[in-house]
C-alpha cells in the first residue's frame, strides 16, 4: 500500500510527539525498545517515501530495513 506524502508527513510528526511522550514515562528497557522502534519506523518512512525508495529495487528497501534492525538491536544489546 502506497501512502500519500502529506499523510506520511503527519504520521512522522505524530510519531515524534509520541516518542517524546513515551520518554516521559520511565527509562525501563521496554520503554527504550518502544522509543527505538518508533525511531526505526520514522527512518523507514523517510527513506521509503521522502527518498522514494518505495519505487526503487526491493534490494534497497531490504538493505535499509536490515541496517535499521541491526542498529537498533546493537543499541539495545548494550543498553
Amino acid at each position: 500500500m502506497k501512502l500519500n506524502i502529506n499523510l506520511v508527513y503527519i504520521i512522522l510528526l505524530l510519531l515524534t510527539i509520541a516518542t517524546s511522550l513515551t520518554a516521559l514515562a520511565n527509562h525501563e528497557k521496554a520503554t527504550v525498545v518502544l522509543i527505538l522502534s518508533i525511531a526505526l519506523a520514522k527512518v523507514l518512512l523517510v527513506s521509503f517515501y521522502f527518498m522514494e525508495l518505495i519505487d526503487a529495487h526491493r534490494a534497497w528497501r531490504i538493505i535499509i530495513f536490515v541496517f535499521g534492525i541491526i542498529l537498533i538491536s546493537g543499541m539495545l544489546v548494550f543498553y
Binding site: A23, V46, H57
Partner: protein
C-alpha cells in the same frame, strides 16, 4: 524511432532515486553514525547513572522541536522534487527555499543549545556522555551545512538556467538532504530520550 531500453532488475538496482553513488554515500554515513551510536550505548551501559545525570542537561522538548523542523524541511524538499520532475521550476524554487529556511532554523536552534551548554561550562571534556553529544551532533550539523550548500547551488542554477540542472543530480542532492533527517532520527532518541 527511439528504441526502448528494457528496464531490467539490474538496471533498477543500479539506479535508485538519485543514483547508486549517493546511496553508497548514504549507507556509509549511516554506518559511520551507527557505529558512533552503538559506541554511545556501549559506554552508556557501563556508566548508566552518569549518562542519566548528564542527559538531564538536554531538553527533550527542544530536541523534539528540532526533529519536527528537520522533518518539515524534508517534506518541503519532497514537494520541491515533485515539482522539479513536473518541470515547474518556480514551485521547485519556492519549496526548496522553504526547505532551506527549515535547515537554517534547525541550525539556529542547535546554535542556541550549544551556546547554553557552553555558558553552563559544559564542554567536550565534561564527561563521556558529552564527548558523544558534541561529536555526534556537531558532525551531524556539518552534514546539514553541506546539504544547505548543495541546495544553495541548486537554487542559483535554477534561477539562472533550470535546464542546466539534471534530474539525477537534483535527486542526489535531495537524497543527501534527507540523509540528514535519517541520521538525526537515530541521534534524537539516543541522546535526548533514552537515558
Amino acid at each position: 524511432m527511439q528504441q526502448k531500453i528494457p528496464v531490467t532488475s539490474y538496471a533498477r538496482f543500479s539506479y535508485p532515486p538519485g543514483g547508486i553513488l549517493i546511496w553508497i554515500i548514504v549507507l556509509l554515513e549511516l554506518i559511520t553514525f551507527g557505529i558512533g551510536l552503538i559506541g554511545f550505548f556501549y559506554v552508556g551501559g557501563e556508566h548508566k547513572e552518569m549518562f542519566h545525570q548528564a542527559s538531564t542537561h538536554l531538553s527533550p522538548l527542544w530536541g523534539a522541536i528540532n526533529t519536527m523542523v528537520l522533518l518539515t524541511a524534508g517534506f518541503f524538499m519532497v514537494k520541491s522534487s515533485h515539482n522539479f520532475k513536473a518541470k515547474d521550476f518556480l514551485k521547485t524554487i519556492s519549496w526548496m527555499s522553504l526547505a532551506m529556511i527549515g535547515g537554517l532554523l534547525f541550525m539556529a536552534i542547535k546554535g542556541v543549545e550549544y551556546y547554553s551548554k557552553i555558558q553552563a561550562g559544559i564542554s567536550l571534556n565534561e564527561n563521556l556522555f558529552f564527548n558523544f553529544y558534541w561529536a555526534l551532533t556537531f558532525f551531524h550539523l556539518i552534514h546539514v551545512l553541506v546539504a544547505l550548500v548543495i541546495l544553495m547551488v541548486f537554487y542559483i542554477k535554477l534561477k539562472r538556467n533550470p535546464s542546466s540542472l539534471d534530474e539525477l543530480d537534483f535527486m542526489a542532492g535531495a537524497a543527501f538532504w534527507h540523509m540528514c533527517d535519517l541520521i538525526w532520527l537515530f541521534i534524537f532518541p539516543a541522546l535526548y530520550l533514552v537515558y
